[in-house]
Symmetry: C2
Subunit: 427 residues, 2 copies
């Protein structure tokens, strides 16, 4: 059952969501740093030794060969492969629209300036192993990099007990266009991507989720390379009007709750009756779920319902929370989108459940958590480019405006800056 919240408690919820970013203890940071140091010193030798220690497999080569890749892919369910191919097309369609162009401005004759949009040279994508495997994440992390124009996309993922790559991950990697795949997990994978070894050349940016050691290692190598955000626990906020189907609302809250006992599922509605109906549905639907235990823990701790007087008020409250996922289960949802100021991704109407976006619709599922949607964005093409500006002044242009530049430099007591203009004005 969702815990109903009154006005005072709402403020606490806002604070709770924004403060629950993933803390990493000093203990874990130290262990991750030790692994990084070991990889920096012993390179491939360290990678083989650490893989033996953590994954209990003795590999002769880290790189997944074309043959091994094809063998793995042969085991995939054709229906899954077809679905992935359709999803890939949708994800590509959306991300292509994110591409930005370089520009050139001509301010006046012989003064021109602009901005170039350039892809990163190389990117590393970490894909977790273990029992859970998320081929959809491979698409979501790789396709934007590909669309951005990154030439070298490297994936690392821990080997399974037989020293193999998971078939679905193999298929996703090939489909998305990953260039190199290594069987390597944990902090050692992050270290190898950041610093390079004999087998693995370093990359410029590392993205993708992982366990707490992976997150710690990413934090530690940041600066040497760029990283994506280190995601906190996930949250969904459903805004529903009185016409929303309680079955749908409950199913969507459960889809969030099954991720993690820390996941947060919030219903904000104008209808007190809907809250009761949703609570009944939650009980009914959760009873048959394989992950029932996680779901119940998650809802008990972080499932909340709030009743507001109007949809405008619902959205104002949502703006304070800045949720990762926001469902607008209302009639004419586009009429309300403009009021949404802070949300990672918005799902419009009764039939667009979060799952559509998680897998298939085309928008990215790597989203800002813990209220960071206030100031940050989903993973996308922007995550894999950088911008470089350029400026040209001719001799005439410099002589025309030199006086102003010299004055500004002198006021800041940067005489050599002024001098660089003056030597050119003298000619």
């Amino acid at each position: 059952m969702l815990q109903p919240l009154n006005k005072q408690e709402q403020a606490k919820l806002v604070q709770f969501v924004s403060e629950r970013s993933q803390e990493i203890s000093a203990d874990i940071l130290i262990k991750a740093q030790e692994i990084i140091d070991q990889v920096k010193e012993q390179k491939d030798d360290a990678l083989f030794a650490l893989t033996k220690r953590f994954d209990q497999v003795d590999l002769s080569s880290l790189k997944v060969s074309e043959e091994e890749l094809d063998e793995a892919i042969a085991q995939c369910d054709p229906a899954f492969k077809k679905a992935m191919e359709m999803a890939k097309e949708n994800i590509e369609f959306y991300h292509k629209a994110q591409k930005q162009n370089s520009f050139l401005l001509e301010k006046e004759e012989k003064i021109y300036l602009g901005q170039r949009v350039l892809p990163l040279d190389s990117v590393g994508i970490y894909v977790p192993g273990g029992r859970a495997q998320y081929p959809s994440s491979v698409l979501m992390n790789t396709i934007p990099a590909k669309v951005a124009g990154v030439k070298r996309i490297v994936m690392t993922t821990p080997p399974n007990a037989e020293g193999k790559i998971h078939p679905n991950i193999a298929f996703a990697a090939k489909l998305a266009g990953v260039d190199e795949i290594y069987k390597l997990g944990g902090a050692q994978a992050i270290a190898a991507l950041a610093y390079g070894t004999q087998s693995i050349l370093p990359v410029d940016k590392i993205v993708g989720p992982g366990n707490i050691f992976v997150a710690a290692a990413k934090k530690l190598v940041f600066g040497k390379v760029d990283i994506d955000m280190i995601a906190g626990p996930s949250e969904i906020l459903v805004i529903a009007d009185g016409k929303a189907d309680p079955k749908f609302v409950a199913a969507d809250l459960l889809s969030q709750a099954e991720h993690d006992p820390m996941a947060c599922s919030i219903l904000i509605t104008t209808s007190p009756k809907l809250v009761d109906q949703v609570n009944q549905e939650l009980e009914k639907q959760s009873a048959v779920l394989p992950k029932r235990e996680i779901v119940e823990q998650s809802l008990a701790n972080h499932g909340h319902s709030i009743v507001c007087d109007s949809l405008e008020e619902c959205i104002s409250l949502s703006n304070l929370i800045a949720p990762e996922h926001l469902e607008l289960m209302v009639e004419s949802p586009m009429e309300y989108l403009g009021q949404v100021k802070h949300a990672g991704s918005v799902f419009l109407g009764y039939y667009t459940c979060e799952s559509v976006g998680d897998y298939f619709g085309g928008t990215n599922h790597v989203l800002p958590t813990s209220g960071t949607a206030r100031f940050s964005s989903a993973l996308g093409v922007d995550s894999f480019i950088k911008k470089s500006s350029y400026l040209h002044y001719s001799k005439e242009a410099l002589q025309k405006y030199g006086e102003q530049i010299v004055k500004m430099a002198q006021e800041e007591q940067l005489d050599a800056h002024a001098q660089a203009i003056l030597v050119r004005m003298d000619t």
Copy 2:
């Protein structure tokens, strides 16, 4: 004199530049955290006490009134004001071209999706005080936020010995359109911007340079709010052909060197003769500079010259370094721009010295240092927006593609995700 480097030493230089990001000692982090905690607990009381302690002034109000602002501005040199107004127009002209539009895609009937570009609600700009004052930085930090559409732009800057704001900083703030100005510096200013006090409401992002305590505090509040990059020492790389005027080259290297004994000035050229001439000019020009001591230290430690066989080779080497500032002092510089893969900002031709861009040309002077131009960009409109995606599937669309989404969810063993689709397909 620039230290000539051979091939082996070049690799060391690349490593040196990329590894010299600003390290902050644990000692300083602890002191900054203490100040942050004090501000969180005692709010305004802490701000007044800390200002008395660090700035030796006893303020009755932190906020700069309209009256005080106008009084300060009245003291500015009219020629400086005129130059700043012209610079502002150029900076606005360039940054307006950076604005991105929201988009809407119609994939098929009743399936639509897109991305909204939204400004941050509020931004804090830190402006250092002390003897040095950089009104140009106020323009460079504020104008992109203004162009992005940020509604509330707050500036903090330490008061001078009389408890006043520096006239030039006051003018720059008013010109750029800052909404609120507070006389407050150090880690306490960062804490106030991140957590808020009675006088200062919190902001979503903090930008602007500062001393080591400011940098430490920014690192510590990151996550609660967003921050810009913490800049390392600055660098310039000049690529010059045989026709470049040694006087110009030397002046530009000196303009970098005067910033800081840690600043790095590198000349890469196809002409050994130019190196000799530049060295002579450096001696001559530095002799008359007020900051001669800093310049000489900087050049002795971090001034380098490298001779290559071709301009292509010069640019390849520059790409390895990924300099903050790159001057292409060559004939037909636009012919070479395409080869530049990694550089914060590029200055084209013999007459576009870095000073033009530092103050006036319109491109931003807040640039990625320490080789991070490999993966990051100048401050700009992008720094003050976030993107929020949206997705709509109708009932028909969901029923058409539900099977694929269910399959993908099931392969990932996320049954509640599948269930959210299935309950809708049943209707």
